[in-house]
């Protein structure tokens, strides 16, 4: 079995065998719901950070009784699983105010399910020194809560070590993206999404092993037979089947701007292995200074707030379009697909402006509004993507 097969298997289930192994060792797992949660902090406490997603959710009958049909179907699907038994292996949840839907998903989850630990992380929406300090305080509140709840101590050294591990993961993922974005891509978009999903589902040290093997296995792999090179961006999307359906009609997804994708790690140092002992110099390159080096929590707060190329952040539109343009250029794409889940105002509005500006820059764009996991929609999507490929002249 190749590493890719392993990673696909991991991403194809919620409570995978590595989570079970972790739990069998008496260790705890914390669910988090958004790329804005610093998982380094959780891991430094000896906890396994596990990103909550909605794999396998069909009906959302229970969730709809609490959220509503005017709420995002991804959050409804996650809540459905949360209110059922699929996430009973979690020993707590840490969920941020990622968006209004997610905020309310957390509140319902906490109100109904009453997890042993339920922490609402307050991630600022604008990056100023004032709000960076606020976020550092908030991370310290979370740290104290974890320490007291689980009877552990998160030392600065443990935190540094944890940041180092995740920097290595990010560095290797960037290498994987080099293989993905090159002229002869080494993996498909569906495969890449599986790899990324697995990252937030198993212990990072175990994941690093898989990644190292995968990089070797795929180095000489060359995907062919596609009509166009596409980039995929938009709201929370962990639906590998959907990406596969897009690729089945000939559009190979060679890069992305997704939070289950490049947005979750792109700021990682590209030479993380070499920097393992000096990670703080690089966690937030533009703002490195001596005080940052002294305080890993400060570094973590800055890293996360500056990494969030997500429309939940305000006053940073230029950063988001630059992120997409540079990825599109790097991966030499023929077009960009921007999706948003119905009722996601953040991405729905942002995608409108992105389309206008990308098309002005000569990059064809397809906007898709989706319902999460709606298989009945696949036929319509295929048709739209086929039409888009024709529009791009491919």
């Amino acid at each position: 079995m190749s590493s890719m097969d392993d990673l696909i298997e991991i991403s194809g289930s919620i409570e995978n065998k590595y989570v079970k192994e972790w739990k069998e060792q008496g260790k705890k797992v914390i669910g988090y719901s958004c790329a804005s949660v610093p998982k380094e902090l959780l891991y430094a406490a000896g906890l396994l950070p596990f990103r909550v997603r909605a794999l396998g959710s069909g009906e959302t009958t229970t969730a709809d009784a609490y959220l509503s049909r005017f709420n995002c179907s991804f959050c409804r699907s996650c809540l459905e699983l949360g209110l059922g038994s699929e996430y009973d292996f979690l020993d707590g949840i840490v969920m941020p105010n990622g968006c209004d839907h997610m905020r309310r998903m957390f509140e319902n989850w906490r109100y109904i399910k009453k997890p042993p630990l339920a922490h609402p992380l307050m991630v600022p929406h604008i990056v100023t020194e004032n709000f960076i300090s606020f976020f550092i305080d908030d991370l310290n509140i979370l740290k104290e809560k974890i320490e007291s709840h689980f009877g552990v101590s998160i030392t600065d050294d443990r935190l540094r070590e944890s940041i180092g591990v995740y920097n290595k993961v990010g560095g290797k993922l960037r290498k994987l993206y080099e293989l993905r974005e090159r002229d002869k891509p080494a993996l498909t978009g569906a495969e890449a999404m599986s790899v990324i999903i697995a990252e937030s589902s198993i212990p990072p040290n175990k994941y690093l092993g898989f990644l190292s093997d995968l990089l070797k296995e795929r180095e000489n792999n060359k995907i062919s037979g596609y009509r166009a090179r596409l980039m995929l961006g938009g709201s929370a999307l962990d639906d590998v089947e959907l990406v596969r359906a897009m690729e089945d009609v000939g559009g190979l997804i060679v890069t992305d701007s997704l939070c289950f994708g490049a947005r979750a790690f792109w700021d990682a140092p590209d030479d993380a292995d070499a920097l393992a002992g000096d990670y703080l110099n690089r966690v937030y390159k533009e703002d490195y200074n001596a005080s940052v080096k002294q305080d890993p929590m400060d570094a973590l707060a800055r890293k996360y707030l500056n990494r969030l190329t997500c429309p939940r952040m305000f006053g940073e539109y230029s950063k988001r379009i630059d992120f997409i343009k540079s990825a599109a250029e790097r991966a030499n794409v023929d077009g960009v697909i921007l999706e948003h889940i119905k009722f996601c105002d953040l991405h729905g509005v942002d995608n409108t402006k992105l389309r206008i500006d990308l098309e002005k820059a000569g990059i064809p764009v397809l906007l898709l509004e989706l319902e999460y996991g709606a298989r009945s929609d696949i036929g319509r999507l295929r048709t739209r993507i086929q039409a888009f490929l024709e529009r791009t002249g491919r």
Binding site: R103, N108, P124, N130, I356
Partner: protein, 462 residues
């Protein structure tokens, strides 16, 4: 292709231009004559608000709004900057600048719904044509569409007070700023109502005021600021008097005064017009209390609307309810808890303004977890002696829909009151006819609210 010849503000200006010509104490014959010459939509809204029981207070609001709109329209000629802001940012602070004029997105949008033929539909369609999603909130999208069309008074800058409390509002204003290439100032609300969060908020707010001063090109003059805030304080006193009157049974405050109060708050606070409008509303209500007047034979139900009302048919909602014995005590947009501003120095006034924005409706209740919404709803239910709650179910408000079930259950648990969940777009009549809303309210009152009251002993025949 949507054809639009003029923007909302430009179309409202001549309609509200009649303001100075409308006199207090008009007879019904004069009102009928005036209504006859108005365009149909304005005829309907004005007809609803010019009924004798609300007439003089409404005339006062019209006069204030006339001045407000004409000031916006003339701002550029007068060398002033137009600052677009959402409803959850107070106009007082902008009035404190010599060189700036406030323009409240949702208020102009609502005036468009109430006064313009075709309401705001064509402006909503402009936003769809640009590509914006159809799930955005219609509370402001009509005015934004009007501004994006390039046919209206262009703002010089935008204040966004919704990051952290409403994605929809914050994103729409950010989009407008990017699209029109005007600067935007963000005032972020952290996601809880703790002292720690308020401190961060205040620091951010001070920074924002300083940035606004730079943009307007004028340092806030302490005396001017004090004058404005003193006027705000006077309006605040009337606000609390009116709120006190609302608790009387039967309610002497006309249903329509709920939205006239917050309409005043969002546009005229800090001006003489704001004081006059609030004073008139208090006078009308006080007189009604003294006379024991109520527009129906009995007050059958006292409803607290825990979100917004509907603004696409004023007569069909507010007047109809009142005439059927159903009181509209207040709604969430009226929960703004103004605090008297400490006018001792500039810093105290700016900090007070920060407190005002922090406690603004929706920012306070939905910019934190559901308990804030529950607490304010329960307090209002108890203080105003409401016997039920109503949720209008405005589809664009994902975050109120997202915890409505919990809020409803908590209201029931903490007050024993039932909550009716409706579903209609508050600003777009195309979704639910007002007659459907009326039927649901009537059925709820008849079968739930009235049935929970102690039954009167049946008359017996001898």
């Amino acid at each position: 292709m949507v054809v639009v010849r003029d923007g909302i503000i430009k179309r409202l200006d001549p309609i509200f231009g009649m303001g100075p010509r409308i006199k207090y104490g008009m007879s019904q014959e004069e009102v009928d004559g005036l209504i006859r010459i108005l365009p149909p939509q304005m005829k309907s809204s004005l007809g609803a608000l010019m009924v004798p029981r609300t007439r003089d207070a409404f005339i006062c609001v019209i006069k204030g709004l006339q001045k407000y709109i004409s000031t916006v329209k003339a701002a550029h000629d007068d060398g002033k900057k137009v600052i677009l802001h959402p409803f959850n940012f107070p106009p007082d602070l902008i009035y404190s600048f010599e060189g700036a004029v406030p323009l409240a997105t949702e208020l102009l949008n609502t005036m468009g719904v109430m006064a313009l033929d075709g309401q705001i539909e064509r402006y909503i369609d402009i936003t769809r044509e640009i590509g914006l999603p159809d799930s955005l909130c219609t509370s402001g999208i009509g005015l934004i569409g009007s501004l994006l069309s390039g046919l209206d008074v262009p703002p010089d800058a935008i204040i966004s007070a919704a990051p952290g409390s409403c994605d929809n509002n914050a994103k729409l204003h950010e989009f407008a700023a990017e699209y029109m290439e005007v600067p935007i100032f963000h005032v972020e609300k952290p996601a809880d109502n703790t002292e720690r969060s308020f401190e961060a908020y205040k620091n951010n707010f001070r920074e924002f005021v300083s940035n606004l001063e730079d943009f307007v090109g004028e340092e806030l003059d302490e005396e001017r600021l004090r004058d404005v805030m003193k006027k705000s304080n006077m309006a605040t006193e009337y606000f609390y008097e009116l709120n006190e009157l609302r608790s009387a049974i039967p309610c002497p405050v006309p249903n329509a005064f709920s939205f006239l109060t917050y309409g005043t708050r969002y546009t005229l606070w800090g001006t003489d017009g704001g004081i006059d409008a609030m004073r008139r509303m208090v006078e009308v209500s006080e007189k009604r209390r003294q006379n024991g007047y109520y527009p129906a034979p009995e007050e059958r139900a006292r409803t607290l609307w825990i979100y917004t009302g509907y603004y696409y048919d004023i007569y069909g909602l507010f007047n109809w309810m009142e005439e059927h014995g159903i009181t509209y005590l207040n709604d969430l947009l009226g929960f703004f808890f103004p605090m008297p501003v400490d006018t001792s120095d500039k810093e105290s006034m700016i900090d007070a303004a920060a407190g005002t924005v922090w406690n603004y409706p929706m920012t306070r209740q939905v910019g934190a977890d559901f308990t804030a919404w529950v607490d304010d709803s329960v307090t209002a239910i108890n203080e105003l002696h409401a016997d039920c709650a109503i949720f209008c179910g405005h589809p664009a408000c994902k975050q109120t829909w997202g915890v409505f079930r919990i809020v409803r259950d908590e209201i029931r648990k903490q007050t024993g009151n039932p909550t009716l969940r409706l579903q209609a777009d508050a600003w777009d009549k195309r979704m639910t006819p007002i007659t459907t809303v009326q039927d649901e309210i009537e059925n709820f009152v008849k079968t739930v609210v009235e049935s929970k009251k102690p039954r009167k002993p049946r008359a017996t025949s001898s």
